[in-house]
């Protein structure tokens, strides 16, 4: 994901606008690479460079329509006539503390912590804003109806970039609602794993102690032949 150190065989460039200034950059670069190429020093707005951390939400337009589109800047290649910028470096966010340890009914508690969840007006702007292709609106409804398992699955790939937050006309923070649903599902409703619990008990009861003692006294050669066996 670095600005290429390999030799570029093409000399093609595209015209782009970065925060209102016009530049020519080699085609094939991502938005972030185009910013580096044109001399921008970046600290905020860069993270994993692999489309998974949500640090680089951005907005852009292309010549063919008026729509302001959303993207992750590390994953989106520039194209001719594109105008873009990273979005706000930081979204002021209402801090909600979800104390799962003291919670009894997370499917009710969601209406105290995130009361807006029930107010979705189906505009679907959140879904359209999501750079990961999540059906955000349906996810929010699943939260409201207490269908946490289905809702949690929908938010699996959420990178918490927050692009869905400022577009919501009901002031819902859908990504936070999604994360809450996922954690609640994991803590309260998922089955226990009998294999895991059995192994924990074996370890506690010292089932492997003798084997450890013997193993840790062996030479490298003896260990290799043991592990090959």
């Amino acid at each position: 994901m670095t600005v290429s150190s390999a030799k570029e065989k093409t000399s093609h460039t595209v015209k782009v606008e970065i925060m209102g200034k016009q530049h020519y950059v080699p085609e094939g670069l991502t938005m972030l690479q185009a910013m580096w190429h044109t001399g921008h020093e970046l600290t905020r707005g860069v993270g994993c460079l692999g489309g998974i951390c949500g640090a680089c939400p951005s907005k852009y337009t292309t010549p063919e329509d008026a729509k302001i589109k959303t993207a992750l800047a590390c994953q989106t290649q520039v194209e001719e006539g594109m105008s873009f910028s990273l979005t706000a470096a930081y979204y002021p966010n209402r801090k909600v503390v979800s104390d799962f340890k003291k919670m009894e009914d997370p499917k009710q508690e969601i209406f105290r912590l995130y009361p807006e969840t029930a107010l979705c007006r189906n505009c679907d702007a959140c879904t359209r804003a999501c750079p990961k292709g999540i059906d955000v609106r349906t996810g929010v409804w699943k939260a409201a109806f207490g269908q946490f398992k289905e809702g949690a699955d929908l938010f699996l790939s959420c990178v918490m970039c927050s692009l869905c937050v400022p577009v919501c006309i009901a002031d819902i923070a859908p990504n936070q609602v999604g994360l809450y649903m996922r954690r609640a599902q994991g803590i309260f409703f998922n089955e226990k794993s009998s294999h895991l619990l059995a192994r924990l008990e074996e370890i506690e009861q010292g089932k492997f102690d003798a084997e450890w003692e013997q193993l840790l006294s062996l030479s490298d050669e003896a260990i290799i032949s043991k592990s090959l066996a």
């Binding site: 065989k9 690479q33 860069v46 993270g47 951390c53 895991l196 192994r199 260990i223 290799i224």
Partner: protein
């Protein structure tokens, strides 16, 4: 059709015939010979001797030595050392290890401050795809996990650290699940497990190919739900010591205002991750933007010992085409369910689930011996045939188990259910790091180190899925130990005396450095 397209077509045409083929495993001797000839760790000209400090006389790569021998950013203008923050435990780094450490220290009653270079959660943790190794199946055992890991680590692993890692795996998986982490399940409700390279049994817990994202999202939320103060965009640029081998705090740099922030801490936990963005030996990297080896540099300068600082993991399958995806990881898990590696002629050349060091070396061999495929941008690599997974396990398997991979490539109009992709090893992990004991403490008193920044657990090659386990097990252990230590301590003096010692050593060794380290970020900005 050009050579590139012809080669791709050969892979597609040969798929059906290849699907049942067996590839022989490497014998120990064959593996040794392969590594010694092609593994980047054994490329002599890439290495140089460290001339100062605790590991003086030992070697590592030029890129790291340059930073270890670098100048402190405070050498010229030492700040006033009156502390702005006084805490029990300072946690440096906001990835999985740092978050786990902070949660444990806080729950043990410590006043905790977290400092991160980017945002809380920006880390290599969030990018981990394949899973977390925990020996839970009835056929498996922690002992077996230990043996696999030791063998994968070229028998160099610290055995006490490793025994603790594997023995505490199940309890740590439970801790994560109690926080809400959802690993994939089988129909009967049990945790689903998958194979990884170098493991004798399936042992990987995972959440599709979003395992790291799932862990980090939950850990971050858990931290935000506790009373833990967090300073984002405030990396540490120098440790503070009492001048006598004890860490007593740190100086941070606020990246928004360029101000220095002095923190006095009874104990410090360093969890700053690895080195990918140093692009060692010119390799692309799978790492996040902040992986510039700060932890190694800072600890070393303050007097901590390093362990296996000369060994790095080049993950065999980094994407090299399209150019915008260069370095990005294609998870090993795809090979564990049948994806094959093929050279320019469409022939297999290595058993795909050898350990990472061996597979990477085999890929490099193919390319160096003229059996690689060249991309339009001039990179060389080999094919990874992912559609075979759907052929073997039924249509929809890739979409169901690897949604992230599918999406990543689809952005560039590559359909991984139909076409192979080009890969080459990518700089993925520092196998070594700051030497720690089983509580996570370094040789610098009261400095605890956890996660990729530490060294010893993985020996000279880490097995897939052992890093997510490491960050949680040792992040938590460091958190507990640092909190306990802090509870019995007062604040100690803040000095930069270790910088004077370092200066004296540099002078004696004739080291002149024009590098200021840590560098904090890679330099990708075009200055022209």
């Amino acid at each position: 059709m050009n050579a590139f397209e012809l080669s791709k077509q050969a892979v597609i045409d040969g798929r059906e015939a290849r699907k049942k083929g067996e590839m022989p495993r490497l014998s120990e001797d064959e593996k040794k010979a392969l590594l010694s000839r092609y593994h980047p760790d054994l490329k002599e000209e890439a290495y140089t001797t460290i001339r100062i400090g605790v590991n003086k006389g030992q070697k590592t790569v030029h890129e790291v030595v340059r930073l270890l021998e670098g100048e402190s950013p405070l050498a010229e203008n030492p700040p006033d050392l009156t502390p702005k923050h006084q805490v029990d435990v300072l946690v440096i780094g906001g990835g999985g290890a740092g978050a786990s450490a902070a949660l444990m220290a806080q729950s043990a009653g410590s006043k905790v401050l977290m400092s991160t270079k980017l945002r809380l959660g920006d880390s290599n943790t969030v990018m981990a795809e394949g899973g977390m190794q925990v020996a839970i199946s009835p056929e498996d055992s922690p002992v077996r996990h230990f043996l696999d890991t030791l063998k994968g680590g070229q028998m160099a692993n610290d055995r006490t650290l490793l025994k603790t890692l594997v023995s505490e795996g199940p309890a740590n998986a439970k801790w994560l699940m109690d926080l809400g982490v959802m690993f994939d399940r089988e129909e009967d409700g049990n945790l689903s497990i998958r194979s990884g390279g170098g493991s004798s049994l399936p042992r990987l817990l995972r959440c599709k190919d979003y395992t790291g994202l799932e862990l980090m999202r939950v850990l971050k939320d858990a931290v935000l739900n506790e009373d833990i103060e967090i300073l984002e965009f405030s990396p540490v640029i120098e440790f503070l010591t009492d001048g006598n081998g004890t860490c007593t705090g740190a100086v941070l740099k606020d990246l928004d205002t360029d101000k220095r922030i002095v923190v006095q801490a009874k104990t410090v936990i360093l969890a700053t991750g690895g080195i990918g963005r140093l692009h060692i030996q010119g390799f692309p990297t799978s790492n996040h933007y902040g992986a510039t080896g700060d932890g190694l540099v800072l600890s070393y300068r303050a007097g901590a010992e390093l362990k296996f600082q000369d060994t790095f993991q080049y993950h065999p399958t980094g994407s090299i085409f399209p150019e915008a995806m260069a370095g990005l990881l294609v998870t090993e898990a795809i090979r564990s369910v049948g994806a094959q590696l093929l050279n320019v002629k469409g022939e297999r050349f290595v058993y795909e689930l050898e350990t990472r060091d061996a597979v990477a070396s085999a890929v490099i061999r193919e390319c160096e011996e003229g059996r690689g495929v060249e991309t339009p941008a001039g990179r060389k690599g080999v094919w990874l045939d992912m559609p075979l997974v759907d052929v073997l396990h039924g249509e929809g398997t890739l979409a169901d188990h690897f949604p992230n991979m599918l999406r990543q490539f689809s952005r560039y109009d590559i359909d991984i259910t139909k076409a192979p992709v080009l890969i080459y090893p990518t700089l993925h992990y520092q196998n070594g790091g700051v030497k720690i004991d089983v509580e996570g403490e370094s040789t610098l008193k009261n400095l605890f180190v956890a996660g990729e920044a530490s060294g010893g657990i993985h020996g000279r090659n880490r097995l897939m899925g052992n890093s997510l386990l490491d960050i949680v097990v040792y992040g938590r252990r460091a958190g507990v130990a640092a909190a306990k230590r802090a509870s019995a301590l007062g604040f100690c003096p803040l000095t930069l005396k270790h910088l004077e010692d370092f200066k004296t050593q540099k002078k004696a060794a004739g080291v002149v450095s024009e590098t200021v380290s840590p560098i904090l970020f890679p330099d990708y900005v075009n200055k022209g």
